[in-house]
């Protein structure tokens, strides 16, 4: 009798152990903002969608793991990654020297330029370079999203501009629409989405687009996945998988689906 019980207990223990290791080893937890379309957003059923969701899902498929997205405010993503609440951050995050001090990054799988949105009649729309724009905006109030590279860039190169920091893109854009801002500075894709929705009547994008390569030390080297610095093994696997995804056109296909342009960073891999 006791031996039957013991056997049963043994089987149960083996079964449980097998089950739990199977689940935990195969899950890749990905932190993302969920409020930054079309990079990262959540649909009405709570499912994470957008360009970064595609990248994450394709990555999991290549690594033969199960994806689980954790949605959190952008500002809290890096501290939570450091505390190992998730394995990766995939949230349109620019690779910067500042951030690289505290977390590791994958290869930058995409690159994106930044641009000002200004009143349609502003002479700065046709300004030939960034110096002219900065000079023209001296003393004006420009909106940026908190914790972004664009804010850091203006702080460093255009100290004459008064910055107003917002939690989300739509709060910033609402303030612009209601006339409390003289312009906004953000990545090209959310800016053009805003213009598309606002109907282009009042605002336009400055023709001079600011490339990340203009100031990689603040604007970053492109968009990468954040990885805990202790997790060297994962970085190797993620880098290899992302390079393969750039090479076989997976990144290109998702980018064209969400942005209408190819943001793949072909220089990232040897």
């Amino acid at each position: 009798m006791t031996s039957i019980l013991r056997k049963a207990a043994l089987f149960a223990a083996i079964g449980l152990a097998g089950l739990s290791t199977a689940v935990s080893a195969a899950t890749l937890k990905i932190g993302t903002e969920g409020g930054y379309p079309p990079w990262s957003m959540v649909d009405a059923s709570g499912k994470v969608t957008g360009f970064d969701a595609d990248i994450g899902n394709a990555l999991c498929q290549r690594l033969d793991m199960k994806c689980r997205f954790v949605v959190q405010a952008f500002d809290s993503l890096i501290p939570a990654l450091q505390a190992e609440r998730f394995d990766l951050v995939i949230s349109g995050m620019s690779v910067t020297a500042e951030r690289a001090k505290v977390i590791a990054f994958s290869i930058p799988y995409a690159t994106e330029d930044s641009a000002f949105v200004l009143p349609k009649d502003s002479p700065l729309i046709d300004a030939p370079d960034q110096e002219t724009i900065f000079k023209g905006l001296e003393g004006k109030t420009i909106g940026v999203q908190g914790g972004t590279t664009q804010g850091a860039f203006l702080q460093k190169f255009a100290p004459g501009i008064t910055l107003k920091t917002y939690e989300t893109q739509d709060q910033m854009q609402m303030d612009l629409s209601s006339g409390r801002l003289d312009g906004t500075f953000s990545e090209v894709t959310p800016q053009s989405q805003f213009l598309k929705k606002a109907g282009d009547r009042q605002f336009a994008m400055a023709h001079h687009v600011i490339k990340s390569s203009a100031a990689p030390e603040v604007l970053g080297l492109g968009i990468g996945a954040g990885i805990n610095q202790r997790n060297v093994e994962l970085k190797k696997k993620v880098d290899a998988a992302l390079c393969a995804m750039i090479a076989d056109g997976t990144v290109k296909a998702s980018s064209e689906k969400w942005f209408g342009v190819d943001l793949s960073n072909y220089q990232a891999c040897p």
Binding site: T27, P37, V42, D170
Partner: protein, 238 residues
């Protein structure tokens, strides 16, 4: 270009907001139960405890009430996320931990915050009970426990109701702060919906209306409770 209200209603975000509202109510209720327990225990210590215990309770209410609620939530979350992850790893409860953790932190935070205000509310209620009644009860031969159950607690709850109502309404709104650490409650659902539909005003107005309805409903419950527990009590204003 703009979505009409009908489009938003049909897009399913109402369901997401309602689920968020359910989470808000759940977190608030669990938090306030914890907070009430802390409040009554803390008040009992402040009224009848020794000097050391009184000092400790005083320190707790002083710290929690003078630090912003958001900071308390951040400290609790980022202060415990690493040990919690280690514990979950050890117990192999990874799946459970990842989804339940922000919820536990939320309940703990709301409990600690509402508890710190609750201590003063219940201390006031203790003080409002005429000491003569307790002396009389003891003189009749009631034990301390009987006296607590039959004389002190029924009156305590009634005297504490107006203040407890304030604490509850604040707890309800403090849950919005937990959205920042990844819990999808009403506020977070509205933020996500605002980004996805690009109709922030509509989503925030709907969330505001839901908070208002929850507040209105709980206000009604408090009015009923004041009537119910008020039987045989003198009216506060009269």
């Amino acid at each position: 270009m703009n979505m009409s209200l009908v489009d938003i209603l049909q897009s399913g975000w109402i369901g997401m907001l309602l689920r968020g509202a359910g989470m808000t109510v759940f977190i608030s209720l669990c938090g306030i139960v914890l907070g009430t327990a802390i409040g009554i225990a803390g008040a009992a210590v402040k009224v009848g405890g020794n000097r050391l215990a009184r000092g400790l309770v005083g320190l707790y209410t002083l710290i929690v009430r003078s630090v912003p609620e958001l900071l308390i939530i951040y400290l609790l979350f980022f202060g415990t996320v690493q040990p919690a992850a280690d514990l979950a790893d050890y117990l192999e409860w990874d799946e459970l931990m990842s989804s339940a953790f922000p919820m536990l932190i939320g309940i703990l935070a709301i409990g600690l915050i509402s508890g710190s205000y609750g201590v003063e509310v219940f201390r006031g209620a203790f003080k409002a009970i005429d000491p003569g009644q307790i002396e009389a009860a003891r003189a009749f031969g009631m034990s301390r426990a009987q006296c607590l159950r039959r004389v002190t607690l029924p009156q305590l709850l009634w005297y504490a109701l107006p203040g407890a109502n304030n604490v509850w309404q604040n707890a309800l709104k403090d849950t919005a702060l937990i959205s920042l650490v990844g819990l999808v409650e009403l506020m977070r659902a509205a933020v996500l919906g605002a980004a996805a539909t690009r109709e922030p005003m509509a989503l925030y107005l709907m969330a505001g209306a839901l908070y208002f309805i929850i507040g209105l409903f709980s206000q009604g419950l408090f009015v009923l409770a004041e009537r119910r527990f008020g039987h045989g009590m003198r009216r506060a204003a009269a």
